[in-house]
């Protein structure tokens, strides 16, 4: 797939390999190799497609997941969340009518699309992967370009198997140093946003590179790339390496019959040339990074666990924005973030609910009890993750500690299934958005990694996971 020319970025290579034509309006048609749909947005596109009497061009390259509106309660069915039933039924009917493989509520491989697609090998390095959800960028961790899209674009992909885009600019974020114990990919992503802002990636595709990107395990790379949209970029990715090949080998939808070697050769050749020129480059030093947590209402409002909440700035606009965030979050400038009382802990979502996330949280929780004032839940990223975790006994560790152990789905990340907090509740969440009202009206969301979230559940207040790791 490589162009053989020097000075090409990985993004250039993948884009050029998927270029189909240029439309009359100047947009490039880019081929979509895999298209994964979900219950919240696909029903509308199915309806529009039927109204226009258009067929799905490649149902064989399209997959459907029930994830956004599904209940997490054990023994669930589509009636458990009554508001979700219409979506799930329409998804079932639309998928059936269009001959699309559906991972339904009771499928042993159902789960959050961004978790399921990598674990089944539906994502291939160097592929263009579209989902009508902004966290499609997750799959960049495997060296694919994930494209979140709207409903009209989703309909367009169903009809044409292409997306009409203008080529974004390229950015490289170089991640230096090496991570200390208790610090993971989520902390790195929050640090990037704290340093560069929530709009730094607008108009760009971001390549993460440097010693930290290389050192992260594949699941952690998925976490980092998942947060790319929170930097304002539609896609973020890491060059595939031997770790990615080892992760993918033997997964159900992988190439085989003698094609595996050829595929690997192409994938390893995707990496940006050493002299490749990016439109923009940033360097972030993560060498002395401590666990990170958001304190406000966007992801740039992030601090390290051992820091004090920031003082109000002089600039009037910045001050007003910060005052509003403090008022919403019920916090005071200048006070330590550690020790703030916590009501609810959520470990889940496409950001941090893969097996490695659950393992690291379980290590902290093991043999302990959650604080009596805390409600805590773990929602595995997929039913396969759930099964694997149960085989390792992680479910027992969480349940014995007092956590709710749920069925897989998006759950509290966006609350589309009814899992929400109550007004003014302080929620420590391993998800991706701390926007006002995202997890329920008035809910005060703090984003963090699974280690820190687990520590908060035990302590009943915002706590440093490293204090719980010394005894391990």
């Amino acid at each position: 797939m490589g162009t053989g020319q020097s000075k090409a970025t990985m993004f250039d290579r993948i884009w050029d390999a998927h270029y189909v034509a240029t439309r009359i309006d100047g947009r490039d048609l880019i081929y979509i190799d895999r298209h994964v749909l979900h219950d919240l947005h696909a029903p509308h596109a199915f309806e529009k497609l039927a109204a226009a009497a258009r067929a799905v061009r490649r149902p064989d390259l399209t997959f459907s997941m029930q994830d956004h509106t599904v209940a997490t309660k054990p023994g669930r069915d589509e009636t458990t969340n009554p508001d979700g039933a219409h979506f799930q039924r329409a998804m079932r009917e639309g998928s059936h009518r269009n001959k699309i493989r559906l991972f339904d509520l009771d499928d042993p491989e159902q789960g959050i699309s961004h978790v399921v697609a990598p674990e089944l090998g539906l994502v291939l390095p160097g592929s263009m992967h579209a989902v009508p959800d902004s966290h499609a960028c997750t799959v960049g961790g495997l060296g694919a370009i994930g494209l979140g899209c709207g409903t009209s674009e989703l309909e367009h992909i169903l009809a044409t198997q292409t997306i009409a885009l203008r080529r974004p600019k390229t950015m490289r974020i170089w991640l230096n140093g090496h991570l200390r114990p208790g610090v993971g990919a989520k902390d790195v992503s929050l640090k990037i946003i704290a340093a560069l802002g929530t709009a730094v990636g607008r108009g760009y595709a971001i390549e993460f590179a440097g010693p930290i990107a290389k050192a992260l395990c594949v699941e952690a790379r998925l976490t980092l790339c998942n947060m790319t949209i929170e930097m304002g970029a539609r896609s973020g990715f890491i060059a595939p390496d031997e770790k990615v090949l080892a992760y993918l080998k033997g997964r159900p939808y992988m190439p085989r019959d003698g094609e595996w070697e050829a595929a690997c050769q192409q994938w390893l050749a995707l990496a940006s040339d050493e002299d490749a020129i990016f439109d923009k480059e940033h360097q972030i030093d993560c060498g002395d990074l401590a666990p990170q947590i958001t304190w406000g209402t966007d992801q740039s409002q992030t601090i390290a666990i051992d820091e004090h909440l920031p003082n109000l700035p002089q600039d009037a606009d910045a001050r007003m924005k910060m005052e509003r965030a403090y008022a919403y979050m019920g916090l005071e400038p200048g006070t330590p973030v550690k020790g703030v009382k916590v009501d609810r802990v959520f470990i889940g979502s496409c950001t941090n609910a893969r097996l490695s996330d659950l393992r690291i949280a379980a290590q902290i929780v093991k043999g302990r009890q959650i604080h009596e004032s805390v409600t805590a839940m773990v929602v595995p990223g997929s039913t396969s993750v759930k099964r694997a975790a149960e085989q390792e006994g992680l479910d027992r560790i969480f349940k014995d500690a007092g956590f709710f152990w749920g069925e897989s789905g998006c759950s509290m990340c966006a609350g589309g299934n009814g899992d929400r907090g109550r007004p003014q509740e302080r929620v420590i969440s391993t998800t991706n958005r701390n926007f006002e009202g995202r997890q329920g009206k008035g809910v005060r969301t703090h984003l963090t990694g699974p280690e820190l979230a687990a520590a908060c559940a035990l302590a009943g207040h915002i706590a440093d996971p490293r204090d719980y790791m010394e005894r391990m």
Partner: protein, 214 residues
């Protein structure tokens, strides 16, 4: 898609930066497949903590009851890819978004639905914000995509930039899928070529024996 050329109507200022799609179109208001997109519009922002409409909130003020143009700050529409966050704007009559910057996915969703997204540099943004606040809904503003100008009380016409391709698409109200299907032969040729160079991309078939037990 309906063709866009010019709009004259009330311009409403909502100048916060980083307005996200959870503010514009909260998910809990999407309870059915055909939700009330008027009701969805900034559902929480328009309400007080007791769920009553806040009469002082800008969208609830009588002079802004039927807005055509929304004037916003930086990074408007960040967050999710939900297109409902554009449909809800159109449901209340907004057909032009003027902002200092617009999030990529949101801008794309605007173009898909014939809502004109305009990004202005700081000087022009300061000018229009000032004038829209001063006008306070008493007189209309006009946005003309043919001449690429914004005009209204309090000053000279403001020129805005938009790519020729996006401008044409909006002016002609092009059917996006129809436009792409003109290249159906190129798509088929691409697939044939990909089958040769990277056949695994053209085939998503499960290996036998990998189905989990039910």
């Amino acid at each position: 898609m309906k063709a866009f050329s010019t709009i004259t109507g009330i311009a409403v200022p909502f100048l916060e930066d980083d307005v996200n799609t959870d503010q514009i179109a909260p998910i809990p208001t999407k309870r059915s497949l055909k939700p009330d997109y008027r009701e969805m519009f900034f559902h929480r922002a328009r309400r007080l903590s007791d769920d009553q409409l806040d009469p002082n909130q800008v969208f609830n003020r009588p002079q802004f009851a039927n807005p055509s143009i929304l004037v916003a700050g930086r990074n408007f529409g960040c967050g999710s890819s939900r297109e409902g966050a554009v449909w809800t704007m159109q449901a209340v009559g907004i057909h032009v978004l003027i902002a200092r910057s617009i999030a990529d996915l949101y801008r794309e969703n605007c173009l898909q639905n014939g809502l004109l997204p305009i990004e202005l540099p700081d000087e022009a943004a300061n000018d229009i914000e000032h004038r829209v606040i001063a006008t306070d809904g008493k007189s209309p503003f006009t946005v003309n995509l043919v001449t690429q100008t914004i005009s209204g009380p309090g000053g000279a016409d403001i020129h805005f930039e938009i790519s020729a391709a996006d401008r044409m698409r909006l002016l002609e109200g092009l059917d996006d899928i129809g436009l792409s299907l003109k290249h159906a032969d190129a798509i088929a040729a691409f697939e044939a070529k990909m089958k040769q160079t990277s056949p695994w991309l053209q085939r998503a078939i499960r290996a036998p024996g990998t189905e989990p037990k039910r």
